[in-house]
């Protein structure tokens, strides 16, 4: 989806080896490459609309409310990552207070339309008010950008985010003490503190209250598509071009009489507005808001979504959101995790260990390690536990599973980390054999420890996946390679 720097696939280059050229041509003529070319040639608006239409179709075929809920999360994260993209990807401003705007939007909606203060503003009034108000706040937070830049600006926005969380978390007993006088007399409960704001009104659009998760999903998809299309227009308008010029080199842009300070404020305001919009959707679907939803871990997650998708690309947010929202959900059930891990292992072995000789080396090493471990365990008289049915039983039969397995599993796991890291440092010649040994240790660790600690394993796998994805695609999925001037 690289818009501007799409690879020019049709040219014949001079001075290239003929074989290389033929090979390149063959690759170009593969169905996947053709499809990709077709996709790249489709205008961005149509692509966004197409994905939006597919997303709406999903609402019809979604088997359960849970899958719809996950899809809703993807749509919400897409919206948030897209807004973040405007600030970080287009304008090059490191905004670490972004999630505070999301939270501000959610809390503002919660206070205006809930039982908290008995205000029940209609959705079509409160949402625009909240979005504009937050955009104004974003504008104000952008003001220090006139003086600060780079990491110093980043940390000021980070402070803002932390201040927001602290105030929200402790906003249930607001009271100023000055020389023994308390203002106001009784502590004022603004945000509900750790108990949050509950009893929030659901969205009501044109007289219809949205009650189901499917309804929220549809609304969020439509909102995300509209926002993306608007942003696409902005991107190709004068301001968008100026924003990108500013990102590449703000000093040069300023000399070209681009109003850099004003553009920075614009970027902050747009980002804040989009985040607030997402916040109102979040508050209305949750029907309650709590400060802990808007803390730094969530900010980092949104950055991960924006970066994984590729900064600077409109569709990138969607891909990133898909990864950070769906991956942890797939790993939520331990049995799915098991299938995924073993599946990934098999696919990896099949793809990477060619020709067959290397595969044979791998398998022999795997089996040899297995036999050795079994002999070792038998020598020490360790008792092995019988296993369950299904896939767990199958793998359990291949890999010994000890009755007293906690420390054994931990050792196996630590060995797996050391071995896995060491593997990448080995000479290619030895890798199949080493991979076989490490695979068996991995299976030992999995069966003896990881499989029983589903929640921890989930976090482990998500972390490892993020590192691996970034290492293999440093630009993100649709990122544009560009040289940075430091």
């Amino acid at each position: 989806m690289a818009d501007e720097d799409a690879p020019d696939t049709g040219t014949r280059s001079i001075g290239k080896d003929q074989w290389v050229e033929q090979a390149a041509e063959r690759i170009d003529n593969r169905p996947v490459a053709k499809l990709r070319r077709r996709l790249v040639q489709t205008p961005v608006q149509w692509r966004v609309l197409g994905i939006g239409a597919l997303a709406l179709l999903f609402a019809l075929v979604s088997p359960t409310d849970y899958t719809t809920r996950v899809a809703f999360t993807v749509a919400l994260y897409t919206l948030l990552a897209t807004g973040l993209n405007v600030v970080v990807g287009w304008s090059g401003l490191l905004d670490l207070g972004y999630v505070a705007f999301f939270g501000f939007g959610a809390y503002a909606y919660a206070l205006l339309s809930s039982e908290k203060f008995g205000l029940h503003w209609p959705t079509l009034v409160s949402v625009p008010v909240v979005v504009l108000g937050t955009a104004l706040l974003g504008f104000l937070l952008g003001l220090p950008s006139r003086r600060l830049s780079g990491d110093y600006l980043a940390i000021v926005t980070l402070f803002f985010g932390q201040i927001f969380v602290s105030i929200v978390n402790n906003g249930d007993r607001l009271q100023l003490s000055l020389n023994g006088h308390n203002v106001p007399n009784k502590p004022f409960n603004l945000t509900g503190g750790p108990n949050g704001v509950t009893g929030i009104d659901p969205l009501s659009l044109f007289g219809n209250k949205v009650h189901t998760i499917t309804g929220y999903y549809v609304v969020t998809v439509i909102v995300a598509v509209v926002v993306m299309l608007l942003l696409y227009r902005l991107r190709n308008a004068r301001s968008g071009l100026a924003l990108r010029a500013m990102r590449e080199d703000s000093l040069a842009a300023e000399i070209l009489s681009i109003p850099v300070p004003r553009l920075r404020l614009l970027a902050f305001a747009i980002g804040a507005g989009i985040a607030a919009l997402a916040g109102t959707l979040f508050a209305s679907v949750q029907l309650s808001v709590f400060g802990s939803n808007f803390d730094l871990p969530f900010l980092v997650l949104m950055y991960a979504a924006a970066i994984l998708g590729g900064l600077g690309n409109i569709g990138g947010g969607f891909v990133g959101a898909l990864i950070v929202a769906v991956l942890p959900e797939m790993l939520r059930t331990p049995s799915t995790g098991r299938a995924l891990v073993y599946g990934a292992l098999v696919v990896f072995v099949a793809l990477r260990l060619r020709p067959w000789g290397r595969l044979a080396q791998y398998l022999i090493a795997l089996i040899a390690t297995g036999v050795l471990v079994r002999l070792g365990l038998a020598a020490f008289g360790t008792s092995i536990r019988p296993r369950a049915t299904g896939l767990a039983g199958l793998t359990g039969a291949l890999v010994p599973h000890l009755t007293k397995s906690v420390s054994f599993g931990n050792v196996a796991f630590l060995t797996l980390i050391a071995g896995g890291l060491g593997l990448t440092l080995l000479r290619p010649k030895w890798r199949p054999v080493a991979a076989g040994v490490v695979s068996f240790i991995g299976m030992l660790a999995w069966e003896n420890r990881l499989a029983e600690q589903g929640s921890i394993t989930r976090q482990l796998l998500v972390g490892a996946a993020l590192v691996a994805i970034m290492a293999s695609r440093p630009q993100g999925f649709f990122g544009i390679k560009r040289v940075e001037v430091l």
Binding site: T67, R69, R332
Partner: protein, 442 residues
């Protein structure tokens, strides 16, 4: 007789139960075909299976012990004293098709509150495994991590609600999570029992299918206030909350109770994640008679107490039930509340505690044992609705849950719910730390 694990696997996968006819080779093949035929090594497998099945007949006795059910909880806890009684119970239940159901389990198994969540996870697994053994049921947990994050909890709850085989839920742990998952649970009329959410307003009627096995904040605050005012005879008390839902609720309830007893109250708060409490400690005035800590983490309370001593402050520390953990909170002379006498001292709980200590460790606090009871409570409710091995509808389980009465729990007494979902007759106790041990004082 030690048998080869390969062999053992094939033996166990033969769908037969103790007491039924001898396994037939043909059934085995059909079963396994579905599992591994895709490997394309049918011939070799068939040979292995035939061998295995023949061997099964001779080695059956060693295999069946403790291995009939595949409940994940049975893994580390087969050593529980109930193990000997398990076999006959399972046999009788097998004839009438054991009641088999799934129960959701939500808790903060990772993240900042993982120290609480992991303890809850262990106790829950133990509770369900023991119940299964004693009643011949086949209940299993579907675990879902909430990270103590309401949004994460909502997604997890949605997953459990969408899974039709889940008939009840144990958890979530925090009051704010209970609030967040409420709408989804109410819509599905799915019973959920929290082992640790104490916010009073949760049982005010908004959440009809909710119940908890711990008393609410209104039960604890006044007890503590009365004790501090009368026994410690403090004129001035400092209450420090740790900015969590549990803590602020309890602090508010205690503050109100102190007011009626004419005790001056100062209120501070500090985030649970704070590294250092020493500057807060510096603010403790010399006329402060007691410091009340409604905290969740015993180690934090221990640290604050140590720093009081470091700075030469004389105030007495009183911890809430969240701090009750003899291994982690052992400040000489301090007091700590609990809503049940220590399970380590309850006679009927001795076997369970021993099993827990054997399987995990002995450093548990107050958040674990209620989970055991909650698991028992839910399992009992599900079992009463069971017919032909299938649990009743969710609405039936919810109705049954409210009527459950456990005669003798590991908490040292009966547990029953009132119609709002609160525990009947909640009472609080106070212990003092003396020589590293907790001594009941009130």
């Amino acid at each position: 007789m030690e048998i080869d694990p390969f062999l053992r696997f094939y033996c166990e996968n033969i769908p037969h139960r103790p007491g039924s006819a001898e396994p037939k080779t043909t059934t085995t093949i059909v079963y396994l075909k579905g599992e591994i035929m895709t490997k394309g090594r049918i011939a070799a497998t068939l040979l292995a299976i035939t061998l295995a099945a023949t061997a099964c007949g001779s080695s059956k006795k060693t295999v069946t012990a403790g291995a009939t059910t595949a409940a994940p909880a049975a893994s580390a806890t087969t050593a529980a004293p109930a193990a000997t009684t398990a076999a006959p119970a399972a046999t009788t239940a097998a004839k009438a098709a054991p009641c088999s159901a799934k129960i959701g389990f939500m808790g903060p198994f990772t993240g900042d509150a993982a120290s609480i969540g992991q303890e809850q996870l262990n106790w829950g697994k133990l509770g369900l495994a023991d119940y299964n053994k004693a009643n011949g049921t086949d209940f299993a947990f579907v675990e879902t991590d909430t990270k103590l994050d309401p949004a994460e909890a909502t997604t997890g709850a949605q997953k459990l609600v969408s899974d039709n085989s889940v008939v009840a839920i144990l958890g979530p742990a925090g009051s704010q999570e209970v609030e967040a998952v409420g709408p989804a649970m109410t819509a599905a009329n799915l019973a959920y029992v929290s082992p640790s959410a104490t916010r009073t307003s949760l049982t005010a009627g908004k959440l009809p299918s909710f119940a908890r096995v711990v008393p609410n904040d209104d039960a604890q605050g006044p007890t503590v206030a009365k004790f501090i005012a009368e026994k410690i005879a403090a004129k001035k008390v400092l209450i420090i909350d740790d900015q969590t839902s549990y803590s602020t609720g309890l602090a508010d309830s205690a503050t109100a109770a102190f007011k009626t007893l004419n005790v001056t109250v100062a209120r501070e708060s500090i985030a649970q994640k704070s590294t250092d409490f020493s500057s807060l400690v510096s603010k403790v005035t010399d006329d402060t008679g007691a410091v009340f800590l409604p905290w969740q983490l015993a180690a934090n309370a221990q640290q604050l107490g140590t720093q009081l001593k470091e700075q030469g402050k004389k105030a007495v520390v009183v911890g809430s039930d969240g701090v009750y953990s003899p291994k982690d909170f052992s400040l000489e002379g301090a007091y700590v509340t609990s809503f049940a006498p220590d399970v380590r001292g309850v006679a009927s709980a001795a076997a369970v505690v021993a099993a827990y200590q054997k399987a995990y460790d002995d450093k548990f606090g107050t958040f674990g044992p209620p989970v055991y009871v909650a698991a028992q409570l839910l399992a009992t409710a599900v079992k009463t609705t069971c017919k032909d091995g299938k649990p009743g509808a969710r609405a039936d389980v919810t109705a049954a849950m409210k009527k459950v009465k456990l005669d003798n729990t590991i908490l040292g007494g009966p547990v029953a719910l009132d119609d709002k979902g609160d525990v009947v007759g909640a009472k609080f106790y106070l212990s003092q730390v003396k020589g590293g041990k907790y001594t009941l004082v009130a």
